[in-house]
């Protein structure tokens, strides 16, 4: 007996919407739960005070500093490499084995799980190069992690710049590099900045990599060679050792807010740049 298609459609629609509703419920539950339990913890004191008594009391200031240092370092390293790679891929080569190799490298790199990156960073930077658990080790490893993101988004952005712009520039006697720096890159800037913001967002949440490269020292790092605990790592330790529920929730809330802020900044930055250069 075949079911009337209209009946099966109704049935499927109910099923689909139920599943969707359930999914959304779970996801919204996560946000709401963190917000309710965590937002009350987010006070100026919480943000500006260092963790006391292994995190049982006090705030998360040193972790904020460590997070900023490590993220900024990673972005500073990965951006020239990533944008440079993208420029080379689009402007200096034709599709061939070189471009395919570079792209393959970036794709595979994007798929490496963070624990493997942590292993790598640990053996190379912490041990063999002797940097120890430090902001430097963490930043270097994080840079490798976000490199594929920046390459991919920058390449798309540069490719999207109309070919006619380049023709016009060459016809006017501009050199290749002048064309790239004066016209192509500014036009691609919105896309590139989105990629960088995405990378910042990913770095904020990264734990496995940083636990084994930047370590977990609670003191505010003052040099590249100091160890530091980022917010995500701090949160992990608080949660797993059961040190302080309220502080854990507070840290989680800050992480979520930061990611939300990054998304908003990314979006508005992109809009602003598009207006300026399009």
């Amino acid at each position: 007996m075949r079911l009337d298609p209209r009946l099966s459609q109704v049935f499927m629609k109910i099923l689909l919407w139920t599943f969707t509703g359930f999914t959304l419920f779970i996801l919204i539950f996560i946000i709401v739960n963190i917000s309710i339990k965590g937002l009350p913890q987010v006070t100026p004191t919480f943000l500006l005070q260092d963790p006391l008594d292994m995190g049982r009391h006090g705030g998360i200031f040193s972790t904020i500093v460590a997070t900023v240092y490590v993220t900024v370092l990673a972005i500073l390293l990965a951006s020239p490499l990533g944008v440079g790679s993208a420029i080379y891929l689009t402007e200096y080569t034709r599709e061939g084995w070189v471009t395919r190799l570079i792209r393959f490298g970036a794709e595979c790199l994007a798929g490496v799980p963070s624990i493997i990156l942590g292993l790598f960073g640990f053996v190379l930077f912490v041990m063999k190069l002797g940097f120890g658990w430090s902001i430097l080790s963490g930043g270097l490893t994080l840079a490798i992690m976000v490199l594929p993101i920046i390459i991919r988004t920058s390449e798309e952005a540069i490719k999207a710049v109309p070919q006619e712009y380049r023709q016009v520039c060459y016809s006017l006697g501009l050199s290749k590099w002048q064309t790239i720096t004066r016209i192509v890159l500014p036009s691609a800037l919105p896309g590139i900045s989105t990629g960088i913001m995405l990378s910042v967002g990913r770095s904020l949440g990264e734990t496995a990599v940083l636990l084994f490269t930047a370590g977990a020292a609670l003191r505010t790092p003052t040099s590249l060679f100091d160890s530091g605990r980022t917010m995500a790592v701090h949160f992990y330790i608080l949660a797993r050792e059961g040190i302080s529920m309220p502080n854990a929730y507070g840290t989680a809330a800050i992480l979520m807010i930061s990611i939300l802020l990054i998304n908003i900044v990314a979006y508005s930055l992109m809009q602003h740049l598009m207006k300026r250069y399009s």
Binding site: R94, P162, E164, Y165, R166, Q167, V168, C169, Y170, S171, L172, G173, L174, S175, Q178, R182, I183, S187, Y277, S278
Partner: protein, 251 residues
């Protein structure tokens, strides 16, 4: 009169595809030289060879010679930047750069070393006047070039080329898609520019060629069929195919 540009057995290939076959003709200084022929005859490609924008085409290959004032511009280490400053190109689609009108005009001159602000402002004004756009935009030089109409944008592109003070101006179907008034303005401009520049005009429109050029070459399917003084070619074409094209039996 010495030729400004001379093509000698110029052939152009990309990959296995041959776009120009042994094309030879001369362009004299201070004339408007027309290049006509149906679509896909190789006219645009020929223009691009003249400022070596053709180098950008994948798998491009050129044989023969093209000389500018006696120098072979196809030589491997020829100064391309210098070439392109002497030979300017206006594309068929108006392509204003995403900058202000002023910036569009002075971007290239500034990068070629002429940094003086006063000089650049004067240059912008002269170029806009020569392209007959000055009156329409003189009050909004710093507005975005993207807000101009199609005809204005194309005149801006012409002004932009003029700002580099070239010797030769190449125009690839510059008025296709423009309204008759803009078309007329551009044709008049070319006529006035003739005394200071050598102009090569590619057009699909035989009437425009008849109106605006001094001499003309007819290209059909990558071969040069005929070249000569425009009035002569149009009234007494030497080749039957030229006659067919002019009278519209094909096109």
């Amino acid at each position: 009169m010495d030729a400004k540009i001379r093509l000698d057995h110029l052939s152009f290939f990309y990959g296995d595809h041959q776009v120009l076959e042994e094309v030879s003709f001369e362009v004299r200084a201070n004339e408007i030289f027309g290049l006509m022929g149906p679509a896909q005859s190789g006219k645009s490609t020929l223009l691009k060879v003249l400022n070596r924008l053709s180098d950008l085409i994948p798998n491009a290959r050129v044989t023969g010679s093209v000389t500018l004032d006696g120098e072979d511009i196809l030589a491997p280490d020829y100064d391309l930047v210098g070439l392109r400053r002497r030979v300017g190109l206006v594309l068929s689609k108006p392509v204003p750069l995403p900058r202000s009108i002023f910036e569009n005009l002075v971007l290239a001159p500034r990068l070629s070393g002429k940094g003086n602000r006063a000089f650049l402002e004067e240059l912008a004004e002269t170029s806009l006047k020569a392209a007959r756009l000055w009156d329409e935009v003189k009050d909004r030089l710093h507005a975005s070039a993207l807000n101009l109409s199609g005809g204005q944008q194309q005149r801006l592109c012409l002004a932009r080329t003029l700002a580099m003070q070239p010797e030769v101006i190449l125009l690839d179907e510059p008025t296709s898609g423009l309204d008759p008034i803009s078309t007329a303005k551009i044709e008049e401009t070319l006529f006035q520019l003739k005394s200071n520049y050598t102009i090569i005009l590619v057009s699909n429109n035989t009437k425009q060629i008849a109106r605006a050029t001094d001499r003309v070459a007819f290209l059909l399917m990558s071969k040069l069929i005929e070249v000569g003084e425009t009035p002569k070619v149009f009234t007494e074409p030497k080749d039957q195919r030229t006659d067919d094209y002019i009278t519209g039996r094909f096109g």
